[in-house]
Amino acid sequence: MESDRQDGAATDPGAGPTRAEQVLRANQQLLEPAADANPSMLYLYSLPERRTIYMNDRIEALLGYSREEIVAGGRDFVRSLFHPDDLPAVRRQPGEYQTLGDGAVRRREYRIKHRDGGWRWFHNRESVFSRDDQGNPELILGASEDVTDQVEAESALRASQRLFARVADTVPSIVYVYDLSEQRCVFVNRQLEATLGYPIEQFQRNPFGVIDEFVHEDDRQDLAASVAGGLAGVEDGRVLEREFRLRDARGEWRWLHTRHVVFARTPTGGVRQILGVADDVTERTRAEQALSESQAFFKKVVNAAPIVLYLHDQTTKQDLFVNDQAEAVFGRPPEIGHDGFLDLVHPEDIDHLIGAGERLAAAAEGGVVETEFRARHASGEWRWYQDRVVALTRTADGKPVRVLGAIQDTTDRRLAEEAIREREHLLERVADSLPQLVYLFDLSAGRLQYVNRQVSKMLGYSPEEMKKPGDELLNAIVHPEDRRSVKLLFPADPAALDGAGAIEFECRVRHANGDWRWLLCRNFVFTRAADGSAEQVLGTIDDVTEHKLAGENLVRFSLAIESSSDAIAMADATGRVTYVNPRFADLFGYTAEDLNVVHPAVRLFDEETETAMREAIFAGCLWTREVELKVKSGRAVPCLLRVGPIQDAAGQMVGFYSVTTDITERRQREEQARQHQAELTHAQRISTLGEMAAGLAHELNQPLSAIASYASGCARRIRSGAGDPGELLAVVEQISEEALRGGEIIRRLKELVQKRDLRREPVDVNSLVHDVVHLVESDVRQGDVAVQLELAERLPRPGADRIQVEQVLLNLVRNALESMHQCGNGHGAGPRAELSIRTAQLDGDTIELRIRDSGSGVPEDLAERIFEPFFSTKAEGLGMGLSISRSIIEAHGGRLWATINEDAGTTFHVTLPLGTAPPREESVR
């Protein structure tokens, strides 16, 4: 089929026969039958007329349209049938056929739409059918053939080729197609580049042949033969494997394992292309080679080893392997794993050895079971062996099947170890018996290797606790200030240990109980490495804390003595003065040298004093006396002199010391105080009387007002005549009773006011207590105080001034009542105020009075100060009462002091001696 687009003229039936028709007609007889039988669509096209002048019947079969329909449809219809993309190719160009020689063919391919709507590919061939007189082409013969199936098949093939390439690129192996005729790879996947480092193109476009260029010389022939000849007789699908070496891009030889199959054949059935899949097996190949080498080596080693090695199957009880050493050791054909082997084993160890089997069964995968046993050596002697067994394979339930064992002769080692243990044991015993702490420090391990038991006694730690790493130990127990110096030795600076001698240092170490102990450490090198550097340090430690403290104390003592306000001197046993402190020189004007000069002028003591002193000292006693000493200037100084012996540890007198206190000032103060006290005692008494007078006046008012009322009542009754004589009499008796009561109060007052000199007479202390209680009766009632008296029966009567002692007692009782009033015990709230007075005889010649109150009490630190003059805890007190009271009692040879009660309040104690001779005969007013 064809179309004409140059002028669009169609066949005109009305025109006369053209020259083309004439040509056609001339050949028609010949042409038509052939044309109709041809499977292609045939047509004749007239170039001068530019129209198709003939077309065979095939068109209907090929396109579904009849010849008549095409002719009727005209040029436009024909054009519409062509695929738009193909129209330019279909169009005839002017002069297109001019160059077309006879026998030459013009080919085109285009798509035409079938009547059913589908596109059909056509292959069109045109050639010159006839020429005009000038030889120009006149008629063109065309043939169009339906090639749709062919085109689709080709496109499917291309798609599957792409798929193959993609698949091949994804597999890890090198995939290639080798063309035998071209001697190159027509396809290679990307893996080539990854594995060997060559770009794909290098294998595909190789003019010299891949094998010759890349394959190892030794492998070339084999490979070439295998790919060419080897596959020749092989059917499709059969795989031929080869290994060969190939040089990679870096020039190294790689082992490739390849599988070849026939990929394409020549028409004659010969092999044209081979598909190969190659893997790089270089590493595996090398490993296999190494393995076979090491196996050989291993076997040599195993047989040469000094230990017995065996591989035993426990299920079959067969030795799979036993090395040569077995025979040398046990002297018989090897049968290690057999029960028969037990004949060689020492009877005592048989059970132990059998037990190893059970332990192996229980052991973890890969666990080694060690057994020590004795067995008879080939030489006949008993030797120690160690068997180390490991299970190589196990049954599903874990029972060992194949076991590998190694038996070693440990006799010598055991002997050596035992010897070492014995030696160590001995050393430890020696070390433990030493009074010092002994240790062995391993410098390479950086920790104590050994420390004796003394450590727990000296520092309270167990030896194990001391074996922690040296740095840790240092920080845990060594004093921060000493760590640096200790660290110099352990182990930072072994150089310090280069000398041969011991290195000594002191440091503070914390005892387990938290105390710091001063330790003296002596270290020396115990062992050295081959290069002479220290390896182990042996050290001993002494606890020098006491020494240190003693030393420190000595410094403090001498400081104290140097700065003492007492004059202190020391002399040796011969009396030679060895030391005087600065105060001594100040006070006496003599230095130690002055005193050692024998000169009559230099004499501190008179002879009598010196003798007394000497006797006391030599008797080992401390001698104390107030004496007057003559100083260098000649003045006599009152001193308190204390002299004592200095003895050595054995009690032998090696010298003596003296402590002298200048008591000049104290003497003066005492004298003044004594004078003051005498004056104040009187003042106090007067003041006490004043206070008492007010109380007594109140007391006296009671009977007086009662008397007045009684009397008035009587008078009124008598005046009104209402008085019944009996009734009046009773009241008058009441009057006289009240009057007597008043008289009694007056009598007591008189007694108190009477001023007398100190007069000693036997005093009934109990009646004194009663009198005083009577005197304070109103205070007692007012304060709602419970008074309790515990008076000893048949109490001896001390010789004393009754009035003065009563005054003391009154003072104490009133203080007690006031203290209870102060703390508010007098009224309602809190426990009831209690005053208890006790008398008792103590140890034969002393009687004691105790006045105990439940009042506010005195603070403990004031218990003694309250006796000082002018010290008072009361707001309006003079602060003299207790001071005077004490001086009165002391004047009687007794004592007065206060103690703090456990619950509340204070107890005052008064003692009075029963003896007749008091030390001081003084009158205290």
Binding site: A694, H698, N701, S705, S709
Partner: protein, 209 residues
């Protein structure tokens, strides 16, 4: 209301003083009760009993002054005569501050004491009468309605009837009726009487509607 005989109560811890005082006071024909302590007196004290109290200042336990305080707290209005052994200014001031009528220093003359007792009993009577009147007035006021109390309040405050009517929004007549009823209930005949009664009652009457 039945009039009880007054009783002189003597509180002193000293038996002689206590007993002699009884003897003296009884000579005047007065009833005497003696107590050894303030606590004993408080235990036996009957607020309805007329009388007076002779009290020693200084006693163990509760003192005289403390007893006075306690009486005030209990609203017992019994007149108190303090007797003291040595009366100082301080004690006197405190005694009078807590409502004592008199203070005597021991020993005292019989006339002094008896005069003071008589005065104290007189004062006690007056106090009790005033209290009785107050109670009666309060009782009468309690009988009034709320409106009557309002009227009363305004009357006492000095309002005229007209003013009251205006203030309470009542008619003059109604006010007059209320007023006469108030006079009737309060049992008084004159405005002056009414005012006195209300003032004595110490009632607080509302004057606002």
């Amino acid at each position: 209301m039945k009039q009880l005989e007054p009783v002189v109560c003597v509180v002193d811890d000293d038996w002689g003083v206590r007993n002699s005082l009884r003897w003296l006071v009884e000579s005047e024909g007065l009833a005497v009760n003696t107590f050894a302590s303030a606590e004993a007196f408080l235990d036996a004290c009957d607020p309805a009993q007329p009388g007076c109290l002779v009290l020693d200042v200084k006693m163990p336990g509760m003192s005289g002054l403390e007893l006075q305080r306690e009486l005030r707290q209990r609203r017992i209005t019994i007149p108190v005569i303090i007797i003291s052994g040595h009366a100082d200014v301080q004690v006197a001031v405190r005694a009078f501050k807590t409502g004592a009528v008199d203070l005597l220093e021991k020993p005292f003359s019989d006339d002094d004491l008896l005069d003071r007792i008589r005065l104290a009993l007189e004062k006690d009577r007056e106090i009790r009468a005033a209290a009785a009147e107050r109670a009666a007035a309060a009782a009468r006021i309690a009988l009034l309605t709320r409106r009557e109390k309002q009227v009363l309040g305004l009357v006492v405050a000095g309002s005229s009837n007209k003013e009251i009517a205006n203030k309470l929004a009542l008619s003059l007549k109604t006010v007059e009726v209320h007023r006469s009823r108030v006079m009737e209930k309060m049992q008084v005949g004159s405005l002056a009487e009414l005012v006195r009664l209300v003032v004595h009652s110490e009632e607080n009457l509302e004057t606002q509607p």
